[in-house]
Point group: C2
Chain length 297, copies 2
């Protein structure tokens, strides 16, 4: 059914998709494009796809075109390729934000092409094509957020595509996706960036002290805060409302805990610190993290 | 020099100390006490120390007594054992907070006994004696915060003790320790607890959604927020000023980032997210975390 796949933007995600397709011996022609020459050269050397240096050449005759660029660039990319997309083909994406992507992409999508937005919850703190690996999506979730009236068979093709890459697939509305991800991803990233920023900026604690004594908890924040800046800038610019809603809730809770510390309310703190343990157990049971303890806190 | 060591409070830290001493074939008599019977039974079965069910029996004739109870209980413990501590012996601790511990312990320390406060930056999100392991302290830091006029040779004994357990040892004032740890440990823990609390408490995002989609960043917070509630309650009650100072700075920064998101200030966000990467590199170079990427963000 899918004989040719186009990957637009050849970073961690696109390179992992291609590596897994090759490993699967998928009977499919993979083509790719990136606007950066050195990225194209790296991917070309991998020998896992046909790399083009012109965007429109990379989508010609493709059955499935996947946008793997930062979410802030997706609208522009689609406006450039729209008239070259094959009639009857599927356009999809891997953006961490769904509503803003749909809003920016849909006006350029031709009537013969179906846009099926998707978001693989996969990645590491590394970025670029060399960080990609075939098992990136194994046992990870991919969320599809279908637009109203999308034919079931088109959704099924995208679902099937991600399942073959090793993912579990869930479906929800774009709005709900953006709220769920604001909680499980966007707010945690912003908070981690903030904490690392605070530590970097203190006058009476040196950076070498922060670094040497980081294993006591801070370390785990720096891992998240090492993620790709362009990607995360675009996430916050494009999921503003949900991110601000969760961050508002976060500030409220933080103030309550601040007050409990100031007032010496040990019972409040103990109860709070106890109930958060249950979610951790759930995550381990769901296979989304290992039970193996993390050293050095 | 040290022929007998007493460990008071037989959780993760004490059990790891004993296991490493046994592994080292240290020529030393290890005795321990815990106020909970089931904990005493577990440790007794390990066969790594002589377990007592009376506190005062556990410190008799000891050359080095180490307090491994939550910091809020250290003052009480010392007031009970003070008249049984051997003349010329050393009293130490492993508390995550130093100034409040010194303030609560010192009034009960007899003149013939030297209190050398210490804090091994080691632990996992697990607690209890069964979570202990001999290599817990390997390549981790232990911070000694000597009290004014402490004889050098007493500090050297404690330093030597931790080095033999595998630690790197640093010295600083209790006040500076408390500020450094507020940044690298206490604030990150409170923030992680807060984020997990927010997620647990949302009406429109279910806990199963939070759990399934946690790999996108939230997961790393739950690991920290699964730490021992009693220990962390005591940390915040006993390092109030430094914790509130850092949390105040954190709120300020968070507000600045909130405003940048609301105003759509992409440059501010990009610059912020870029400079935090340098600290991560420093931590990996200092051997305080591995470079190996963490899946599924």
């Amino acid at each position: 059914m899918i004989k040719k796949i186009s990957l637009i933007g050849l970073g961690l995600i696109a390179s992992s998709i291609a590596k897994k397709l090759v490993l699967n011996n998928a009977n499919v022609n993979i083509v790719g494009y990136d606007n950066l020459e050195y990225v194209r050269k790296i991917v070309d050397k991998f020998g896992i796809m046909e790399v083009h240096d012109k965007l429109i050449d990379a989508v010609e005759d493709s059955d499935l075109t996947i946008l793997c660029v930062p979410v802030g660039s997706m609208g522009t990319v689609v406006s450039e390729i729209s008239s070259y997309l094959k009639d009857g083909s599927i356009l999809s994406d891997v953006g961490s934000v769904k509503k803003a992507v749909i809003d920016s992409v849909m006006p350029s999508v031709p009537s013969g092409v179906t846009f099926v937005p998707a978001h693989p919850l996969a990645g590491t703190e590394e970025s670029g094509p060399s960080s990609g690996f075939s098992e990136l999506f194994a046992n990870r979730w991919c969320i599809i957020t279908p637009i109203k009236d999308t034919p079931m068979e088109k959704i099924k093709i995208v679902r099937n595509f991600w399942e073959k890459l090793g993912s579990n697939v869930a479906e929800m509305t774009p709005e709900h996706h953006d709220l769920v991800l604001a909680v499980t991803s966007h707010a945690p990233h912003l908070i981690a960036y903030t904490m690392v920023g605070v530590a970097d900026d203190l006058a009476n604690v040196t950076n070498s002290e922060v670094i040497n004594f980081s294993a006591a908890g801070f370390r785990d924040f720096t891992r998240i805060a090492a993620s790709d800046p362009t990607m995360w800038r675009d996430v916050f610019l494009n999921n503003k409302d949900a991110a601000l809603e969760i961050l508002g809730r976060f500030s409220e809770e933080l103030f309550a805990l601040n007050r409990a510390i100031r007032q010496g309310d040990g019972d409040f703190l103990f109860d709070y610190f106890t109930r958060t343990r249950a979610i951790r157990r759930g995550i381990i049971e769901a296979g989304q993290d290992t039970k193996e303890p993390n050293f050095g806190r």
